[in-house]
Symmetry: D3
Subunit: 239 residues, 6 copies
C-alpha cells in the first residue's frame, strides 16, 4: 500500500476501496550520539505503515523535513519555517481531495511540526469540506509513557532522544539505534523556555533530554501499539 510504488492505473482502481491517505512527516534534526538525524522520519514512516495495515490505507511518501527551530543550530539540523511547511501540506491535502480521498491523516514524528499541521488542517477544513484531516502525534502516549517510564520526563510537553523516543526507535527502527552510544543527559530546562524563544543549546549540548540508556523495545512497543490503536479508532469512527 505504498502509494508511490503503485501506478496510476492501479490507484485509479483501488482508490474506490480505500479513501484513506496517510502522510508520514518527520524532520532532520540532531538526536544525540545514538540516534540518527532522520529519527523522526523513520518513526513517522514505520508508524504509518503499521497504521495503514490496520485501517487499509495508502501510505504516501514521507515528507522528511520539518520545523526544528529549537535545535536548528545543532549539527545536521535542517529547519523549515511554519509557513513553508503549512503551505506545502495544504497543497498535498488539496490534491488528495481532488483525487477523491475522504481521509487525510498526517502522522507526525516531530512535535515542532504541530502548529503547522494544525494550521494546515484548519485551512483544509474550509477548502475541502468533505475530507477529514487528522494531525496525529502519538495519541495517548502521555498516559502510556507514564506507565512504563523509569525516569520522569524532563519536560511536561516535549521529550527528545530520551528513554521514550529511543524506545520507539528500538521497536520501529532498531537497526538505526546504537545503544552503545546511548547516554544519560538530564537537562535542567529553565522555566523561561516555556515563555520566551529559547534555543535548546542553552540547556543541552547533546540534544538528549533524559536517560536514553533505559530505553527498551518493550517500552516502545507498549506505547506505540496504544498510539496505533487510538489512531485506528479515530480514523474508523463515524462522527
Amino acid at each position: 500500500m505504498q502509494f508511490q510504488y503503485q501506478n496510476s492505473f492501479e490507484v485509479k482502481d483501488s482508490i474506490h476501496k480505500s479513501k484513506i491517505a496517510i502522510l508520514p512527516i518527520g524532520a532532520v534534526e540532531a538526536h544525540g550520539p545514538h540516534l540518527p538525524l532522520g529519527t523522526d522520519n523513520l518513526l513517522a514512516e514505520r508508524l504509518s505503515e503499521k497504521l495503514a495495515e490496520r485501517v487499509n490505507a495508502f501510505v504516501l511518501p514521507t515528507l522528511p523535513y520539518g520545523q526544528v527551530w529549537s535545535l536548528r543550530n545543532f549539527p545536521g539540523s535542517i529547519n523549515i519555517s511554519n509557513d513553508s511547511l503549512m503551505n506545502f501540506l495544504v497543497d498535498i491535502g488539496e490534491s488528495l481531495y481532488k483525487q477523491g480521498f475522504t481521509t487525510f491523516a498526517m502522522v507526525n514524528g516531530h512535535l515542532g511540526n504541530g502548529p503547522a499541521l494544525k494550521d494546515a488542517a484548519r485551512v483544509l477544513f474550509e477548502n475541502c469540506p468533505e475530507m477529514r484531516v487528522f494531525y496525529f502525534f502519538y495519541p495517548g502516549m502521555n498516559k502510556a509513557a507514564a506507565e512504563v517510564r523509569e525516569t520522569k520526563s524532563s519536560h511536561n510537553t516535549y521529550f527528545h532522544a530520551c528513554e521514550i523516543e529511543t524506545s520507539y526507535m528500538l521497536y520501529l527502527a532498531p537497526e538505526h539505534v546504537d545503544m552503545d552510544k546511548a547516554i544519560t543527559d538530564i537537562p535542567d530546562i529553565p522555566i523561561h523556555a516555556d515563555v520566551t524563544p529559547t534555543p535548546w543549546k542553552e540547556f543541552t549540548q547533546t540534544a538528549v533530554l533524559g536517560d536514553a540508556k533505559l530505553a527498551t523495545e518493550e517500552k516502545g512497543k507498549y506505547i506505540i501499539d496504544i498510539a496505533i490503536e487510538n489512531m485506528a479508532k479515530l480514523i474508523n469512527s463515524k462522527y
Copy 2:
C-alpha cells in the same frame, strides 16, 4: 553517506571533509501502466546516490513531492505549487548554508520542478553568497538521448514514461518497472501546448509520451552515466 542515517556528532565531524549536500527532488505523478507514481523520486534518489559516491557528498532525504500541474488531474498525481516548492527549498538551502555547506546540489527527477528550483537557487544566490547552488536535470541528456533513441521524441523539451525515462528506470530502479505493461502511445501534442496552459489529458490518456516498449537498461545507463559525469565535473570545477 545518507545524511539522515548519520547522527549529529558524526555529521559535525564529517562536514569538514565534505561540504557538498545533494538533495534528490522528484514528484508523485502518473507514469503510465508500467511505471510507479514515484518514478521521479526513485530516479532522483538513485541518481543522487551514484553522484554522491563520485563526489564524496552527503545525500539528503528525498523531497518526494513536486509541481505536476500538467498531469495533476491524472489518478495518483499530487501537485505542489511553484511558490510552496520554492519556499521549502529556500528553507533547506539556508539551513545547509548555516551548517557550513558550500555546495547545495538539487538533483531533480521531474522537469516541472524546474522553475521553482531555478527561483530558489536565485534567492539563495543572494542570501547565501558563499554557497554554490545547482539545479540539475540530467545535464547533457539531450545529446546522449539522441544518440541512443530509436524513436523520435514526442516533444523537444519534455519526455515522460517513454523510451527514455523507462530506460532510466530499467537502469536505476528495475524492480519497479513492469515491462509487460509497457505500451506504445505516441501522442499528437498540439502546437498550442507550448503557448497556452494545456493539461495533458488533452492529448494523452495514459501519461505515456512515446514508445516505452523500446526501453532498455543499456540506453538508460548510457545517458545516466553521462549525466553523472557532467554533474560531477560541474560540482568539482572551480570557477
Copy 3:
C-alpha cells in the same frame, strides 16, 4: 504607568527608568451566560496592571482581538487569523525595540492566541536581538489550579468560562460577572477534538466547559497571584 495616558515627553524621560513594556492581549469570544464577551481582555488587562506594579513597567493599551477559531461561530465571537495577529504583534514589538525597550512581555488572556504569540516572539528574537520577548499565559496555573479546583478539568490543555476562569474574573473583574447566571455544563469533549479541526459547537451549546457555579474569588486570587509571582520572577531574572 498606563503608557497611552502619558505624553511623549514624559515617556522620553521615564523610558530610561523602566524599559519593560507589557502588552495585554485578549479576545472577543463567547464565554457563557455569566461572563462577558470581553472576558479575556479584562483578565489580560488587569493582570497586566498588577504585574506592572510589581516590576515597574509600562502597560500598553490592550489588543482586544484574538484568534478564536474554535468558538468563532458562537454569537459575538470575532476571529483574527494567526497570520494577521502575528504580523500585528511583530509590528508592535519592532516599534518598542526602536523606542529602546529591552523587555516586551505579552500577557495573554486567551489560549488560542498562543501559536501567533510564539511565532511573533520568534520573529522578534531574530529582528530585535537585544530585546527579551515573553508570551505569558498564566505561568504556573496548571499546578495551582489543581490545588484549588473542586471539579476536574474538562480538558488537559484548555479551560473556558468554567470554575477556573470564572474565579479569575471574580478576583480581577467581579463587576462583570453575573453569578446568578453561572451554570454547570460539563462537556463530553470527543477525543478527536485533539487531532482534527473541531468547532466547539460540536460539544457545547453554552461555551462553558465545566462548573462555573463553583467559582470563587479566593480560587482566582490563589492562582493569579502565583502567575503574577512567576511572571515577575521571569521578567526580573538575568539570564
Copy 4:
C-alpha cells in the same frame, strides 16, 4: 451597548434589533506635551460612544494601534504597517458579517490609518456584499473647523495636537488634557512633505502643528457634534 461587556446570549438576542457595529480605531503616537500618546484612541472611543447612542449601535473594543509612519521616531509612538492593519480589519469585518451585522462603521481617530481603512473596506465590499462598511474620519470637519478656528491650519490635509485636535479632547476627554503645558508651535511644513516621504521630525520637535493654547471645549463640541450628525445620517440613510 459596549459589545464586549455583553455576553454571548445577550448578543444573540439583541443583534436582531441592532445590526450596526462601530469600531473605534486610533493610535499610540506623540501628541505634544499636553496630550497623551493615546489621544486618538480616546477620541475614537468616545466619539463612537456618542455615535452609538444616536444610531443604536454596538461599540466594539477600540483597536488602539495604527499607522504612525510620520511620527514613528518620536518617543512613545508605536507603528503598525498598512498591511498588518488592513488584514486585521478585514478579519474583524468578516467576522461581523458572519455574525449577521449589516453595517460596519470604522470610526477613525488618526488620519494615517486612512489608506488601510479604505483598502480594508474595499476588500470587504467584495467579500461581504450585503454589509455596508464605513471609514469615518470626522466627516464634515473641514468646513466646521474653518468656521471656528482662530489660526489657520498648518496643512491643508492634516492637523495634529493643535487648536483643533486639542479642542476635540477638551470636549471628549478633558481629564486627559493638561492645558498648562499647551504650546504654540507653528511649523513651517516644507512643500516636499507632500511629495516625498518626510518624517515629521524634519519640521517639528514637539509634534504639535499649531497653537494648542487656543483650544476650547466649545470649538471641539461644535465640530464633533457636526461630525456625529453626519455619521448618523450616513449610517441611517438608505441607498
Copy 5:
C-alpha cells in the same frame, strides 16, 4: 533623454551627468466620449518629457496601467491592485538605486495611483537611503485650477475628464481630444462616496465629472506650467 532609446554604453556614460530618473505612470480607464482610455498615460508621459527637459533627466518608459477601482466596471478600464502596483514600483526603484540614480521621480497622471505610489516611496525610503523618491500629481494644481476654472469642481479631491483634465489634454495631447464629443455632465456625487466604497457608476454613466466643453488649451497650459515649475523646484532643491 528617453531612457529606453539610449543604449547601455551611452547610459553608462551619461548617468554621471544626470542622476535623475522620471517615471511616467498613468492608467487605462474610461474618460468619457471625447478622451481616450489612455488619457492619464498621455498626460504623464508628456508632462514627464517637459519636466525632463527642465531638470535634465532621463524619462523612463511609461508604466501604462494603474489602480482604477472606482471606474473598473466601465468599458475599457483595466485595474491593477494597490499591492501589485506598489511591488512593481519598488522593483523599478531598487534597480534605479543600484544603477546609481539619486532621484526617482514618479510623475503620476492618475489620482487613484496615489496610495500605491506613496507606499512604494516609503519602502524605498528605507531600502535606498541615498535616493530621493518623489510622487508627483500636478503639484500646485488646486490653487492654479481654482484661478482659471469657470465651473466649480464636482469634488474637492478628484476631477475627471472635465473642464480641467480636458484642458490638460488640449495642451499636452490635443490630437487625442475630440472636442465635438465633449459633454457637460455634472454629477451629484453622494456624500457617502467619501466614506464607503462607491463605484462611480452610482453617480455617472459617462465618467465625465463636470463640463468638458469649457476646456481650453490655455487653461491647461496655465496649470501644467505651474506644476512643472513646482516639480522642477522640488527636484532641484537641496534639503
Copy 6:
C-alpha cells in the same frame, strides 16, 4: 486598434466585434552598443501591431518592464521580480476577462519574462475559465532562425543582441539600430550557466551574444513573418 487611443464608448461598441486583446511585454535591458535598452519593448510592440492587423485584435499599451535577472547589473537594466511581474499580469488578465475578452495574448519580447508569463497564464486558466491566454515568444523561430543564420547560436535556448535579434530590429524598428556600432562578440558561455545562477557579466562585457554584424532586415523579416503566421493560426484555431 490601439486600445488606449480609443475611448470608452468606442470600446464598448467594438468589443463585440473583436474579443482579442494583445499585450506587448518587453524589458529595459542592456543590448550592446548598437541596440537601445528598450529593444524588447520595440520588438514586442511592433510585432503586436502586425499581429493585431492579421487577427483583428486590440493592442494594449506595452508593459515595458520585465525580469532581467541575468543582465541586471549592466548599465541601464531595470529588473522586475517574477512575483511582481506575474501579479501585475494576472490583474490585467482578470480585468480583460471582466470586460468580456475571450482571448488574451501576451506577446513577449524578452525570454526572461517566460516563467512569470506562464505562471500568470496558469492562474488565469483557473480564474477566468472562458478566456484563452497565450504567452508567445516568437513561436517557430528556432527552426526559422536555423535556416537563415550564418553563425551558430551561442546558446541553445537564449539569444541576445546578436545576428538574430538585431535582424528583428532591422525589420521592425530599423530607426533604432546603429549598425555602425554593431560588433562581433561571441561568448564562451560556461556549461554551469545552465545549472547554477550565473550573471551574464561572467561571460560577456557587451551583452552581445554573437555576431551582430551579420544581421539583415531580410533575416528578420523571414523569421518574424513566420512567428506572426504561427501566432495568428493559434489565435484563430478552435480547440
